[in-house]
Protein backbone atom coordinates (compact mmCIF):
# COMPACT_ATOMS: atom_id res chain seq x y z
CA UNK A 1 0.00 0.00 0.00
CA UNK A 2 2.76 2.45 0.96
CA UNK A 3 4.76 1.61 -2.16
CA UNK A 4 1.74 2.27 -4.33
CA UNK A 5 1.15 5.56 -2.55
CA UNK A 6 4.82 6.49 -2.84
CA UNK A 7 5.06 5.94 -6.59
CA UNK A 8 1.77 7.74 -7.20
CA UNK A 9 2.78 10.80 -5.18
CA UNK A 10 6.23 10.98 -6.71
CA UNK A 11 4.92 10.31 -10.18
CA UNK A 12 2.83 13.45 -9.79
CA UNK A 13 5.97 15.58 -9.38
CA UNK A 14 8.04 13.88 -12.07
CA UNK A 15 7.63 16.89 -14.35
CA UNK A 16 9.05 19.21 -11.70
CA UNK A 17 12.03 16.92 -11.18
CA UNK A 18 12.67 16.81 -14.92
CA UNK A 19 12.27 20.57 -15.24
CA UNK A 20 15.23 20.86 -12.86
CA UNK A 21 17.32 18.73 -15.21
CA UNK A 22 17.13 15.67 -13.00
CA UNK A 23 15.59 12.25 -13.35
CA UNK A 24 13.82 9.91 -10.97
CA UNK A 25 13.93 6.16 -10.65
CA UNK A 26 12.83 3.59 -8.11
CA UNK A 27 14.48 0.46 -6.78
CA UNK A 28 12.42 -2.23 -5.10
CA UNK A 29 13.26 -5.75 -4.10
CA UNK A 30 11.81 -8.98 -5.39
CA UNK A 31 12.13 -10.59 -8.78
CA UNK A 32 12.33 -8.83 -12.12
CA UNK A 33 8.94 -10.31 -12.90
CA UNK A 34 7.49 -8.66 -9.78
CA UNK A 35 8.98 -5.33 -10.86
CA UNK A 36 7.49 -5.75 -14.32
CA UNK A 37 4.06 -6.50 -12.90
CA UNK A 38 4.24 -3.51 -10.54
CA UNK A 39 5.15 -1.12 -13.35
CA UNK A 40 2.38 -2.43 -15.57
CA UNK A 41 -0.31 -2.53 -12.90
CA UNK A 42 0.34 0.93 -11.50
CA UNK A 43 1.57 2.58 -14.69
CA UNK A 44 4.67 3.92 -12.95
CA UNK A 45 5.88 6.87 -15.05
CA UNK A 46 9.59 6.54 -14.20
CA UNK A 47 12.07 3.66 -14.49
CA UNK A 48 11.80 0.92 -11.89
CA UNK A 49 14.53 -1.57 -11.05
CA UNK A 50 14.81 -4.32 -8.50
CA UNK A 51 17.49 -5.49 -6.12
CA UNK A 52 16.60 -9.09 -5.26
CA UNK A 53 19.69 -9.61 -3.09
CA UNK A 54 19.06 -6.25 -1.33
CA UNK A 55 22.78 -5.54 -1.68
CA UNK A 56 22.15 -2.01 -2.95
CA UNK A 57 19.67 -1.39 -0.12
CA UNK A 58 22.27 -2.48 2.42
CA UNK A 59 25.13 -0.51 0.89
CA UNK A 60 22.95 2.58 0.70
CA UNK A 61 22.20 2.29 4.40
CA UNK A 62 18.55 1.33 4.14
CA UNK A 63 17.20 -0.47 7.16
CA UNK A 64 15.77 -3.96 7.42
CA UNK A 65 13.49 -4.24 10.41
CA UNK A 66 9.91 -4.98 11.47
CA UNK A 67 9.12 -1.31 11.10
CA UNK A 68 5.43 -1.30 11.99
CA UNK A 69 4.25 0.88 14.87
CA UNK A 70 1.74 3.53 15.83
CA UNK A 71 3.09 5.88 13.19
CA UNK A 72 2.51 3.19 10.57
CA UNK A 73 -1.12 2.85 11.62
CA UNK A 74 -1.60 6.59 11.38
CA UNK A 75 -0.17 6.89 7.90
CA UNK A 76 -1.98 3.72 6.82
CA UNK A 77 -5.24 5.47 7.67
CA UNK A 78 -4.25 8.38 5.46
CA UNK A 79 -3.27 6.10 2.61
CA UNK A 80 -6.53 4.15 2.87
CA UNK A 81 -8.52 7.39 2.77
CA UNK A 82 -6.70 8.29 -0.42
CA UNK A 83 -7.73 4.99 -1.96
CA UNK A 84 -4.54 2.97 -1.70
CA UNK A 85 -4.96 -0.67 -0.73
CA UNK A 86 -2.51 -3.26 0.49
CA UNK A 87 -1.79 -5.97 -2.06
CA UNK A 88 0.15 -9.20 -1.72
CA UNK A 89 3.65 -8.38 -0.56
CA UNK A 90 6.13 -9.07 -3.34
CA UNK A 91 9.63 -8.83 -1.96
CA UNK A 92 11.11 -8.71 1.50
CA UNK A 93 8.40 -7.57 3.95
CA UNK A 94 10.97 -6.35 6.49
CA UNK A 95 12.95 -4.18 4.08
CA UNK A 96 12.44 -0.44 4.59
CA UNK A 97 12.89 2.22 1.94
CA UNK A 98 14.26 5.71 1.62
CA UNK A 99 15.48 8.35 -0.80
CA UNK A 100 18.88 9.29 -2.17
CA UNK A 101 19.69 12.24 -4.38
CA UNK A 102 22.84 11.44 -6.32
CA UNK A 103 24.76 13.99 -8.37
CA UNK A 104 26.91 12.71 -11.24
CA UNK A 105 29.27 11.04 -11.32
CA UNK A 106 28.54 9.80 -7.81
CA UNK A 107 27.95 12.18 -4.94
CA UNK A 108 25.19 11.53 -2.47
CA UNK A 109 23.80 15.02 -1.98
CA UNK A 110 20.88 13.95 0.16
CA UNK A 111 19.80 10.85 2.00
CA UNK A 112 16.67 9.87 3.88
CA UNK A 113 16.38 6.45 5.48
CA UNK A 114 12.84 5.36 6.33
CA UNK A 115 12.55 4.28 9.93
CA UNK A 116 9.49 2.12 9.28
CA UNK A 117 6.63 1.33 6.96
CA UNK A 118 5.06 4.48 5.60
CA UNK A 119 7.83 6.74 6.88
CA UNK A 120 8.27 8.33 3.47
CA UNK A 121 9.43 11.84 2.83
CA UNK A 122 6.78 13.85 1.08
CA UNK A 123 7.56 14.87 -2.50
CA UNK A 124 7.76 18.57 -1.58
CA UNK A 125 10.62 17.86 0.81
CA UNK A 126 12.46 15.85 -1.81
CA UNK A 127 11.98 18.62 -4.36
CA UNK A 128 13.38 21.10 -1.85
CA UNK A 129 16.35 18.84 -1.23
CA UNK A 130 16.93 18.48 -4.96
CA UNK A 131 16.79 22.23 -5.47
CA UNK A 132 19.27 22.75 -2.64
CA UNK A 133 21.60 20.09 -4.01
CA UNK A 134 21.51 21.54 -7.51
CA UNK A 135 22.09 25.07 -6.28
CA UNK A 136 25.36 23.97 -4.72
CA UNK A 137 26.40 21.71 -7.59
CA UNK A 138 28.89 18.88 -7.48
CA UNK A 139 31.68 18.93 -4.93
Amino acid sequence: MFCREQVARFGAVLGEVESMGARMLAIGNGTASMARGFVQQFKVPFPVFTDPSRQVFALAGMKRRFGIGLHTLAVAGRALKEGFRQGRTQGDPWQQGGVLIILPPGEVAFEHVDQGAGDHLDPASVLAALEAALSEGPA
Binding site: I27, R88, V99, I101, P104, A109, F110
Partner: protein, 61 residues
Protein backbone atom coordinates in the same frame (compact mmCIF):
# COMPACT_ATOMS: atom_id res chain seq x y z
CA UNK B 1 28.50 24.91 4.06
CA UNK B 2 29.06 21.80 1.98
CA UNK B 3 29.17 18.49 3.79
CA UNK B 4 32.62 17.10 4.32
CA UNK B 5 33.72 14.16 2.21
CA UNK B 6 32.13 11.10 3.69
CA UNK B 7 29.07 12.92 4.95
CA UNK B 8 25.68 13.82 3.60
CA UNK B 9 24.36 16.94 5.29
CA UNK B 10 20.60 16.82 5.35
CA UNK B 11 20.55 19.99 7.43
CA UNK B 12 20.53 22.06 4.26
CA UNK B 13 16.88 21.15 3.95
CA UNK B 14 16.01 20.03 7.46
CA UNK B 15 17.85 22.25 9.96
CA UNK B 16 17.28 19.85 12.83
CA UNK B 17 18.40 16.77 10.94
CA UNK B 18 21.44 14.81 11.93
CA UNK B 19 24.45 14.60 9.61
CA UNK B 20 24.33 11.10 8.23
CA UNK B 21 27.26 9.07 7.03
CA UNK B 22 27.54 9.37 3.27
CA UNK B 23 26.64 6.08 1.72
CA UNK B 24 28.11 6.38 -1.78
CA UNK B 25 31.07 4.05 -2.20
CA UNK B 26 32.81 2.10 -4.95
CA UNK B 27 30.91 -0.96 -3.78
CA UNK B 28 27.61 0.84 -4.12
CA UNK B 29 28.56 2.23 -7.52
CA UNK B 30 29.42 -1.26 -8.78
CA UNK B 31 26.41 -2.98 -7.25
CA UNK B 32 23.86 -3.99 -9.82
CA UNK B 33 20.09 -3.83 -9.99
CA UNK B 34 17.83 -5.65 -12.42
CA UNK B 35 15.59 -4.00 -14.95
CA UNK B 36 12.04 -5.39 -15.21
CA UNK B 37 13.35 -7.30 -18.23
CA UNK B 38 16.01 -8.95 -16.07
CA UNK B 39 19.02 -7.00 -17.36
CA UNK B 40 21.69 -6.30 -14.73
CA UNK B 41 22.64 -2.60 -14.53
CA UNK B 42 25.32 -1.08 -12.26
CA UNK B 43 23.95 1.68 -10.09
CA UNK B 44 26.72 3.98 -11.28
CA UNK B 45 25.41 3.72 -14.83
CA UNK B 46 22.00 4.93 -13.72
CA UNK B 47 23.29 8.11 -12.11
CA UNK B 48 26.22 8.98 -14.37
CA UNK B 49 24.46 11.44 -16.67
CA UNK B 50 22.02 13.45 -14.59
CA UNK B 51 21.20 14.32 -11.01
CA UNK B 52 18.98 11.47 -9.92
CA UNK B 53 16.33 11.02 -7.26
CA UNK B 54 16.45 7.36 -6.25
CA UNK B 55 13.39 6.09 -4.41
CA UNK B 56 13.92 2.90 -2.47
CA UNK B 57 10.62 1.03 -2.27
CA UNK B 58 9.92 -1.38 0.59
CA UNK B 59 8.63 -3.99 -1.84
CA UNK B 60 6.26 -4.36 -4.77
CA UNK B 61 3.10 -4.93 -2.73
Amino acid sequence: MRPRVGECDTSRVFPDAEVRPMSWSPELAAATVLSPEGEAVPLAALVAEQPTVVLFLRHFG
